[in-house]
Symmetry: C2
Subunit: 233 residues, 2 copies
DNA sequence: GTACTTACTAACGTATACGTTATTTCCCGA
DNA sequence: TCGGGAAATAACGTATACGTTAGTAAGTAC
């Protein structure tokens, strides 16, 4: 009523993104940034207030996030940020191994021009540089870029969408374990071997090397989760 | 008002499944059964009337179906059953090849007891019998059961969910092409080889044989789509 | 006759109201 | 004091109302 309560603050007119999209992005960001930690529960109403909108767009965004495995919807208890345990991480990495090695195969089969692969090459170079600078965050970002580029370039949109979804599920765990693991020296080298095979059109090798790359990452990650007894991420 | 218009017909009390779930199942069934053919468009309101409920649960069901790639949601035009063209089928089968061959590998690695594999064995036997009886529908159903069982038994729930989703996307095309292709003699034999490798714990062979199995099916299917110039399925 | 503008219509996006149901708390009895 | 039941509360599921926007058609001007 008073001047301090600006009711009807609705986005009049020029909103390019719907409230559902905004709710989706913001909730997802909060989960990935650990603002909503694993296990965090909140009622639809509270999330809606948090985001300054009504329950409806929040509900629709939550349905999507449920599909992506980031939240669980429990009647009368609201949404819950699903914790990822070691077993989940195993599942996630097995799917990533499967989909990404197929992506490497598909990309290699397409015999892409050298410049098409530039994003992957640049990401790999950045990984080497970041490791020399001892900048783990930069390394992780570059590693993320490599895998994202591989997926984006493979030409299979369904595969890309699924791989991105499942990669997001492991994002928090990768961030947490980043400083608990040994220096990731092997990755850039493996990336270069994948790139070489792709450039040569040797799709079997591209697939097999990437398969081993992800398997190794999986072993490392689940090993750390067990070693440090990390209950959930 | 009159006795012929039973207002408040709402599911009072004992509804075990929510309207959203019912909407989801029914719309999906109609799509897979071709009651809603590829390209079919309908407004939210019309679908809601069709199912005898309001727009809200229909909307929420449609959001899920959009995520599964079965419908597209176009503002002011309602939902559209997404047609699957040859290129989509290639994408679908590449993903299936990837995920299912990983499933075969995972299952083989687990060294399952022989009786665990019984659903897959029974399905394979049924395929042989159906082919002898010249019963293509029974063959397709048994083939479907084999692949579903493989996915269910592999132990990776994320992989299973994704594989099921993408398999549904190809369902209509498989049904349509069932009678356009040569008799599927090879499949049961390939299934038996996968089973043998799984039982022996030879996960590389299980993976590779299943990979080739799906690749072959993919070639056949996309070949038929091109040969018969099937525009969309 | 064609093109542009304007007005009307219809569908969706969002908010909100309402009824149902699950959960929790309190009270009573054993 | 503990357990069970009932009532109250709170959250969700669903329906519906409302406002915005896009699409369409008609009319006018050039």
């Amino acid at each position: 009523m008073s001047a301090s309560t600006p009711r009807r603050l609705r986005q009049t007119g020029r909103s390019r993104t719907s409230l559902v999209e905004r709710a989706y992005e913001q909730i997802k960001q909060r989960i990935l940034n650990n603002d909503y930690s694993p296990g965090y529960q909140a009622l639809e109403k509270d999330v809606a207030e948090d985001l300054g909108m009504s329950r409806t767009p929040v509900r629709e965004a939550l349905i999507q996030l449920k599909h992506e495995g980031l939240v669980e919807l429990i009647p009368r208890r609201g949404m819950k940020v699903v914790p990822v345990v070691a077993e989940d991480m195993q599942e996630i990495y097995d799917v990533l191994t499967s989909l990404e090695s197929m992506a490497a195969e598909l990309l290699a089969r397409r015999q892409p021009d050298s410049d098409v692969l530039e994003p992957m090459k640049a990401a790999t170079r950045d990984m080497v540089d970041a490791l020399e600078d001892n900048d783990l965050d930069a390394w992780a970002a570059a590693d993320e870029r490599f895998h994202r580029a591989l997926i984006d370039l493979c030409g299979n949109r369904r595969l890309a969408s699924m791989a991105n979804t499942v990669r997001d599920q492991g994002y928090r765990a990768r961030m947490v374990t980043l400083r608990l693991r040994d220096k990731p020296f092997a990755s850039a080298d493996e990336h270069e071997r994948v790139l070489k095979a792709i450039e040569e059109g040797d799709w079997q090798t591209a697939r097999d090397v990437h398969y081993e790359h992800r398997k190794r990452a999986s072993r490392e990650l689940t090993g750390i989760l067990r070693k440090y007894r990390l209950p959930q991420l």
